[in-house]
């Protein structure tokens, strides 16, 4: 009998009824961790000394989980999967983790990610590439690759993630699980290693919508250490999921979903979009009113550049604290600036350095208005477009990516221009701080694919309810990996 492949509700019931103990759960989770570490290279740190806690009425009490390694954890190595922090042991814990600890949650490992969350492949971790548990020749996407792989493989029912562009929601789709980032500021960012502060969200990777609600209920809350956090004490996500979607309206966007936009579409893309349209039909049968909407193609085309400009600009500033003087392995150098240069040159992967160069370039006095300020203007325009849709619809439903997980071989973190919008549209959820959730909606070539549901700010309950209803109409809830190869 295994438990780590069950839902939080089921595990909790087993604990309450005494069918299993917290100690046994930890043992099972750690064993599975070691197995998946060999197969997927998903972890930076395994917490062999994890201790059981008293099981209470709290759903999360006594249950193991994983923490993405860009969360600061007191006394536990926290690297951000970067060589620049390979020995860094913080002396304070992220607020979201403190909140989970109060609920009795037990971390058993720290999961690997694209360096500081700045990648979408799971291949830029200082501990090496993370492979997709469904097919080890494929990527998990990123940056929450380790968390996604571990949850999909049944290491535990959930892991924390962070999402600046789609870093929770895309790996969730590639791994056939649920990825949810709530409204910006619902979960405090204090203790999350920043990538781009105005886009950074915390969230959860789980195997069901209800579990996602339970975990975010546990992580959220206003925090005096994060001025962008807000009081959500009157919002109870898990308790509010009732599956009632009467009169709910959804829309999808023609310029993103219509196969005719992609003249060179391969079979995977064709199947993916056809499968998406099947899901739309299911939604209609469930009682949703679903309509197709159109958005200015020029505006949509600007999306990837807007993301690159804003995220790189903020990142280059946010990571200026990484000098090796106060923390991190200090580099040799004849002077302080030589030492700093050596530390940063050796410590960061080429991808990150490329982003720093872009970030610096767009902020330079002579470029700032053209790139940075214009990017902010277009960000506002895109958010306004989405908000206009939210006046008519409860949520926007869209396919995630252009198909199932991509092959690792030959993968580059460079976009295919043709399908750029399909790959990047989840970033609008970060531009607007919208609540956004990915759930699995089928398989292509025996590999999972997903859809995303995004709603307006502070409307998390609505988004979760819609996702729950759709999830309940399909057979992918709670699925764990059935290995392909």
């Amino acid at each position: 009998m295994t438990y780590m492949d069950k839902s939080i509700e089921e595990i909790h019931e087993a604990l309450i009824k005494g069918k299993v103990t917290s100690k046994e759960l930890i043992k099972e989770s750690l064993e599975k961790t070691k197995e998946i570490e060999k197969k997927c290279n998903a972890f930076v740190t395994i917490l062999d000394d994890a201790k059981p806690v008293e099981v209470t009425d709290e759903l999360l009490s006594g249950i193991p989980y994983g923490i993405k390694d860009n969360y600061s954890t007191e006394g536990i190595l926290s690297t951000g999967s970067s060589n620049t922090l390979k020995d860094y042991i913080p002396f304070f814990t992220a607020t979201a983790i403190e909140n989970l600890t109060k609920k009795g949650a037990i971390p058993v490992n720290k999961t690997a990610l694209d360096e500081f969350g700045m990648g979408g492949t799971g291949t830029t971790c200082h501990t090496g590439t993370i492979t997709n548990p469904w097919d080890h020749t494929r990527m998990c996407a990123g940056s929450s690759a380790g968390s996604a792989a571990a949850v999909a493989a049944g290491v535990y029912p959930y892991a924390t993630g962070s999402d600046t562009g789609d870093s929770i929601r895309k790996p969730a789709a590639y791994c056939g699980i649920v990825g949810y980032k709530p409204t910006y500021g619902m979960i405090s960012r204090y203790g999350l290693f920043p990538f781009a502060s105005s886009l950074d969200h915390l969230g959860a990777l789980t195997r069901s919508v209800k579990d996602a609600a339970i975990v975010v209920d546990g992580m959220k809350g206003i925090d005096k250490n994060d001025m962008t956090s807000w009081d959500s004490s009157n919002i109870h996500l898990y308790d509010s999921i009732d599956g009632n979607i009467k009169g709910k309206k959804l829309c999808y966007i023609k310029e993103i979903c219509d196969i005719n936009n992609y003249p060179n579409a391969d079979n995977e893309l064709k199947e993916h979009l056809a499968n998406f349209m099947d899901t739309i039909e299911k939604c209609k049968k469930l009682g949703f009113e679903v309509k197709e909407e159109s958005i200015d193609q020029t505006l949509l085309n600007a999306l990837p550049s807007v993301y690159v400009v804003i995220s790189c600009a903020e990142a280059t500033s946010n990571m200026s604290n990484l000098t090796g003087f106060i923390f991190g392995p200090r580099a040799e150098g004849e002077s302080w600036d030589q030492s700093l240069k050596n530390y940063r040159t050796k410590g960061f992967s080429p991808l990150i350095k490329r982003r720093f160069v872009i970030g610096s370039y767009v902020l330079q006095a002579e470029n700032k208005d053209r790139y940075f300020h214009n990017a902010q203007r277009v960000r506002r325009l895109l958010v306004d477009e989405w908000n206009k849709l939210y006046k008519k619809y409860d949520a926007i439903i869209l396919p995630v990516g252009s198909g199932p997980a991509k092959k690792l071989e030959g993968s580059k973190d460079i976009l295919d221009q043709n399908t750029a919008i399909l790959e990047e549209h989840l970033q609008i959820g970060n531009f607007g701080g919208f609540p956004s959730i990915t759930i699995p909606n089928g398989f292509i070539d025996n590999l999972p694919v997903g859809i995303n549901i995004t709603g307006k700010c502070y409307d998390d309950i609505n988004v979760l309810n819609i996702a729950y209803a759709i999830e309940s109409s399909m057979n992918y809830k709670g699925q764990v990996v059935k290995e392909v190869k």
Binding site: Y71, S72, S78, G80, L85, Y88, P90, F91, F92, A94, R189, Y190, G191, L192, F193, P194, A196, S197, S198, K224, N225, D226, M227, T228, A313, E314, T316, S317, M319, S320, N321, L322, T323, F325, I326, F327, W336, D337, L340, S360, L363, Q364, A365, K368, F372
Partner: protein, 485 residues
């Protein structure tokens, strides 16, 4: 050609009166122990976030009002990005002119050589201080106590025509900060630091056109007002020498630094090497609406400022402009004076005691005002003792000195020294007759017309009473009694 000197100032003053730092919960105190007032954010540990200290904002808004600036509708902060060992985050949180800082475009009237002068304020902004570093032959040490201390930066238009004018303005501002309870503004604690801009223009040209102002040279890190005076005077002379020797082109737009030791300014960098600080709005601090009611509340709470106090002193208390100017020069003295008046001391007497005896003796005894053992109550009692003729004014001066050196009350000193002035006329009549009985020769001389012998006889009364007899009464008594003989 006639020249006109154009001087503009940037005055940085730490806000010393808040409990905590400006974006950090660490204590804002002047600790003698290095790294004693430090929170994780002051050393930029990954995942830390800034939180705005409302009290620092309140004080800054008050300063903005006093300086006649306009206050912004929304409060924003910006990042100024650069690498330096004393700047752990790699950026300083500050304000620029767009969006509007805490204060924009004000006018401030100050006095110089008895004349009222107007200086235009370009802007006032709130920012955080950097850490401080100490340099040793073996290396440098950084002390993070100062990192994050609130700092007000005031930028003027080039409205000063001499070093003395500039210093008079700085002294007036420093006084304002002290009176308003914003800062101790103590140069010795490094709380006040200035940058100075100096250029020389052709006096025949139109001053309202900045193009006519001449080539501006900036002098950085001038850390005392006397250094400001010296640096400006040095720079004026340097530039004039170049102009007069036909080397106008050698005056380049540059940043220089004041070297205290050599008393010269030294080239740091040219305009072409100016640092691009890549400013952008701090994303971790949401824009904050400054409510009108709050501004009104702050405006009402502005304490009485030196020029208001001066008017009261002259018009209501009837003291001279000269004395009033001396008293308001130091808030502590002014507070002391007002305390005396509250205790119903005679305003003119109190002013005389303070401006002559108190300030004179503080210098002579090398005492700091804070070490003063004299209290307003003691001064009031001392004045009363003289008024009621219990001691003579000569005795009072002795008592005053004793208070300063021993801290005893005037009553205690008068009693210990058996100093009470004898005003009992019967007693004096008795002593006068004793003196006359002992000096029959003097009576003879008096009767022969040498009336000035009365003075000598009065002196004998004083001798007998050890100076305690009221001299006026003693003289008139003697004059009456000798007539009776």
């Amino acid at each position: 050609m006639d020249y006109k000197v154009m001087i503009g100032l940037e005055m940085h003053c730490e806000i010393s009166e808040t409990k905590t730092k400006v974006f950090s919960g660490a204590k804002n105190d002047f600790s003698e122990y290095p790294n004693d007032s430090v929170k994780p954010i002051d050393m930029a540990f990954p995942g830390t976030l800034p939180t705005v200290n409302k009290e620092a904002v309140r004080m800054s808004l008050m300063a903005s009002m006093i300086l006649g600036c306009s206050q912004p509708e929304y409060l924003y902060f910006e990042r100024k990005n650069y690498y330096y060992p004393d700047l752990p985050k790699g950026f300083q949180i500050t304000q620029e002119t767009k969006p509007a800082p805490i204060g924009s475009y004000g006018e401030f009237i100050y006095e110089h050589e008895g004349k009222k002068k107007k200086a235009r304020i370009n802007n006032l902004h709130l920012e955080e201080d950097a850490a401080s570093s100490d340099h040793y032959p073996s290396g440098s040490r950084i002390n993070y106590n100062r990192a994050g201390v609130p700092l007000l930066e005031l930028v003027t238009e080039p409205d000063f025509r001499s070093a003395d004018e500039a210093v008079a303005f700085l002294e007036a501002i420093r006084n304002i900060y002290r009176y308003a309870g914003i800062s101790e503004a103590d140069s010795k604690k490094g709380q006040v630091r200035c940058d100075v801009n100096v250029s020389i223009m052709d006096a025949s040209l139109d001053e309202t056109n900045p193009e006519n102002w001449g080539t501006k040279v900036e002098i950085k890190n001038v850390n005392s007002f006397s250094a400001v005076r010296d640096a400006i005077n040095y720079e004026i002379e340097r530039q004039l020498n170049l102009l007069n020797s036909g080397k106008k082109e050698e005056i380049e737009q540059e940043t220089r630094r004041w070297d205290e030791e050599s008393g010269t300014t030294i080239h740091m960098r040219s305009k072409v090497d100016a640092i691009d600080y890549k400013y952008f709005v701090e994303p971790n601090i949401p824009k904050f609406k400054i409510k009108k009611e709050w501004l009104e509340e702050i405006r009402k709470s502005i304490p009485r400022l030196p020029y208001e106090r001066k008017e009261t002193y002259i018009n209501e208390y009837g003291i001279t402009d000269y004395d009033a100017t001396i008293i308001i020069k130091d808030k502590k003295i002014s507070d002391f004076y007002e305390e005396c008046i509250k205790l119903k001391a005679d305003p003119k007497m109190a002013s005389n005691w303070i401006t002559t005896n108190l300030l004179g003796n503080l210098n002579k005894l090398e005492l700091e005002f804070d070490d003063l053992t004299l209290t307003p109550k003691m001064l009031k009692d001392l004045i009363d003792l003289v008024e009621s003729k219990e001691i003579s004014s000569k005795q009072a001066k002795e008592v005053f000195l004793d208070i300063l050196t021993t801290g005893k009350t005037p009553q205690e000193i008068v009693k210990e020294k058996d100093m009470k002035q004898m005003s009992d006329e019967e007693e004096i009549v008795k002593i006068a007759n004793e003196v006359l009985d002992e000096n029959p020769d003097a009576i003879d001389q008096y009767k022969k017309g040498r009336t000035n012998v009365v003075d000598w006889l009065t002196g004998q009364i004083m001798k007998k009473t050890k100076g305690q007899a009221n001299p006026t009464i003693a003289r008139s008594t003697m004059a009456t009694e000798i007539e009776k003989r």
